[in-house]
């Protein structure tokens, strides 16, 4: 059956193959221009390396916004760029090392999955500084004086939305939907559960792990299953996968809520004219990645950024927060929102101690 391929057939085959490869590359990489070097002598060059793609309407997009804030505020001091490495985990290491070899002054990267690669870069490129966000960098095991660790107190923010969930729940069952059972996401869950129990000690809080950060159909199915098992509020914490939870809530109808994460997702849906989704977004646990980038850039300019250290951006530094939208005001009473605000003050003051997974 297998005859020798003729020249024409070979060309056709390789043509089809190249077309496919070329297109998939188009989808995967944007903004691959070389870092600006000529005018950058006095400017520091920063690159934000994303182990995913923009468009999640939350975490990575917030970081992208942070880069914009930096170039708006300190445009004369910094040159910024953003690189997306897609969700294909197999290319993360090689792509990150490639980017590092371009000789950036500062590389911003983050999340649990990137720790080992950042460790490698920090060793191989001692002149490149790394701002590592959203994971507790273990400086005792990986002591690098060119790494600055940024951690968000997601447990504190989650405590507040946990309270909101408990106030809004009619069934006495609320759920947490995380992408993967890692430390940061457990930290979300621990705070969420504690906050919910603070309002209603007998509330049932279940954790559900979707094993995906990208597939919205998976998020939709998990959320629907959770609703049908009697949970009426879901804290959806899994990037693009979590978008599916909003569709599930709309399908289930009145009385089913989603709590968004990282960005203000209720506001986002309103801005897109999707009133039905905005109406089921109870609130969002804000992780102000953008604010933290800007803050770090300011400190960097003053030469005060503490490299070799891990800093936590909590409620006190506005690293995390609680979003109030029209839906929040409609579902929760004024006293309840005031109660959440009071808890916020008490966490900052230290009178409420929020548990952590770290």
């Amino acid at each position: 059956m297998q005859e020798k391929m003729s020249r024409r057939q070979f060309l056709a085959a390789s043509g089809a193959g190249f077309l496919g490869l070329g297109l998939s590359a188009c989808g995967a990489q944007t903004g691959a221009e070389k870092p600006a070097g000529a005018d950058g002598d006095s400017k520091k060059r920063i690159v934000y390396v994303i182990n995913g793609t923009l468009g999640d309407k939350s975490f990575f997009d917030s970081g992208d916004n942070g880069m914009k804030l930096i170039s708006d505020k300190y445009g004369d001091k910094f040159v910024t760029d953003v690189r997306e490495m897609t969700y294909d985990t197999s290319v993360w290491e090689s792509t990150a090392l490639d980017i590092a070899s371009e000789g950036w002054d500062i590389m911003i990267m983050g999340t649990f999955d990137m720790v080992d690669y950042a460790d490698k870069i920090a060793t191989q490129y001692p002149d490149t500084k790394i701002w590592f966000f959203d994971e507790a960098w273990d400086f005792s095991a990986k002591p690098h004086d060119n790494v600055y660790g940024m951690l968000y107190a997601q447990n504190e923010g989650s405590y507040l939305v946990g309270m909101a969930a408990a106030y809004a729940s009619k069934t006495g069952k609320v759920a947490f939907m995380g992408g993967m059972e890692n430390k940061v996401l457990q930290d979300f869950f621990v705070g969420y559960k504690q906050g919910a129990m603070a309002v209603n000690p007998s509330i049932e809080v279940v954790a559900d792990w979707t094993q995906s950060f990208s597939d919205s159909t998976v998020g939709h199915d998990h959320a629907k299953a959770l609703y049908q098992q009697g949970n009426d509020v879901i804290f959806s914490c899994c990037s693009s996968c979590g978008l599916g939870a909003f569709d599930a809530a709309v399908e289930m109808g009145e009385g089913h809520y989603v709590i968004g994460v990282d960005g203000n997702q209720g506001e986002y849906w309103s801005s897109q004219g999707q009133a039905d989704k905005a109406a089921c977004t109870l609130t969002s646990m804000l992780k102000n990645v953008d604010a933290s980038f800007l803050e770090a850039a300011g400190q960097e300019l003053e030469g005060k950024l503490p490299y070799g250290k891990l800093e936590t951006y909590g409620l006190d530094k506005d690293g995390v927060g609680f979003a109030v939208t029209d839906t929040t005001k409609k579902v929760l009473s004024e006293e309840q929102i005031a109660g959440i605000d009071k808890a916020r003050e008490e966490i900052i003051a230290g009178t409420i101690k929020v548990d952590t997974a770290f």
């Binding site: 496919g20 995967a28 094993q211 199915d221 693009s240 599916g244 569709d247 004219g273």
Partner: protein, 321 residues
């Protein structure tokens, strides 16, 4: 342990679980039927994943730009058919290895859909900025009020009904029509079929066209019924699952229904069971474990049957003279 069993019982007695089984099976079933008909004609449609992605995307774009949901469905159809024909053209007329064509189609599907999404909508991971709507669901007036059954079958998408109706339609097509006979003969003995005047390439092209059409339906279901938007890579490996399901089903439509339901069942179970405290990695692996067990059971069955047949033949040949 008893609490765990209680929770499991809670899942199995919940009608919405079976609703989810039926609805998650739909895209797998359509893709499996598509692979099965191509495979019956002797061409492996590896590109199902890419066809689903492109047609899912085309469906959303079509319905968002025209404002008519059925125009979107038509777009998804058209893209599915064109891609099926593309596989046929490269594999049959330019004689490229069909597996390679399939891989190229998958790469095109994942890359081009993401690229066009960015160009056309400015969105990078999901077309949430478009208003594309969903296909209607069918409420069965009499059945809806029946307890349990009503909650399972009523309110399914119109495409779900199309998918399940496709099973007898394709079974009839393959077994009772001239075209079906030709497709099967071309798949089993292309030389013999050619010797009695059946156009081998033409028949295979028709099979791949139908396969592309079914892939288009599967894609449309994902982005116009399952979710009301397209997300990058939303086929989520269902095209590959379909290939396994086809192999297990021996390319028959009825068998495809069985194997797709098996996958749908375990997929639904994994979404329901993940809040029960079973290690989530294990739960997520359930559909794949089921595939493995299914394939082993299937091949043991085939071996037994063959052994029995060869024994029978030997016995006959001894008895005859």
């Amino acid at each position: 342990m008893s609490q765990f069993l209680l929770a499991l019982g809670g899942i199995f007695s919940n009608p919405s679980f079976y609703f989810t089984v039926l609805s998650t099976t739909v895209p797998i079933l359509l893709a499996t039927l598509g692979c099965a008909i191509a495979e019956s004609a002797g061409s492996t449609n590896m590109g199902m994943e890419g066809i689903m992605l492109m047609s899912a995307f085309a469906g959303v774009i079509g319905s968002a730009y025209t404002g008519v949901i059925w125009a979107g469905l038509l777009c998804a159809f058209a893209v599915g058919v064109v891609m099926g024909l593309m596989v046929a053209y490269f594999a049959l007329y330019l004689k490229v290895d069909i597996i390679l064509v399939g891989i190229a189609v998958n790469l095109i599907g994942s890359g081009l859909s993401a690229f066009l999404m960015y160009v056309l909508t400015g969105d990078r991971s999901a077309t949430t900025s478009l208003q594309s709507g969903t296909l209607p669901t069918i409420v069965l007036p009499g059945v809806e009020s029946i307890p349990f059954l009503g909650a399972v079958v009523s309110n399914q998408s119109v495409l779900a009904w199309v998918a399940y109706l496709m099973v007898p339609v394709l079974a009839f097509l393959l077994n009772k029509t001239t075209l079906g006979l030709r497709i099967r003969s071309v798949g089993e003995q292309p030389d013999a079929a050619a010797s009695v005047g059946v156009g081998v390439n033409r028949t295979k092209t028709v099979a791949l066209l139908i396969s592309g059409l079914l892939g288009g339906l599967a894609g449309a279901y994902l982005s116009m019924s399952y979710l009301p938007y397209f997300t990058k890579g939303m086929s989520g490996g269902r095209g590959f699952t379909a290939l396994a399901a086809t192999a297990m089903a021996h390319n028959t439509p009825v068998g495809s229904l069985g194997t797709s339901l098996l996958f749908g069942f375990f997929y639904a179970l994994s979404t329901y069971a993940s809040s029960l405290g079973i290690p989530d990695q294990l739960v997520a692996a359930l559909p794949y474990l089921a595939t493995l067990v299914g394939l082993v059971a299937f091949s043991i069955g085939v071996q037994r049957k063959e052994r029995a047949r060869s024994c029978g033949v030997a016995a006959d040949s001894v008895a005859l003279p």
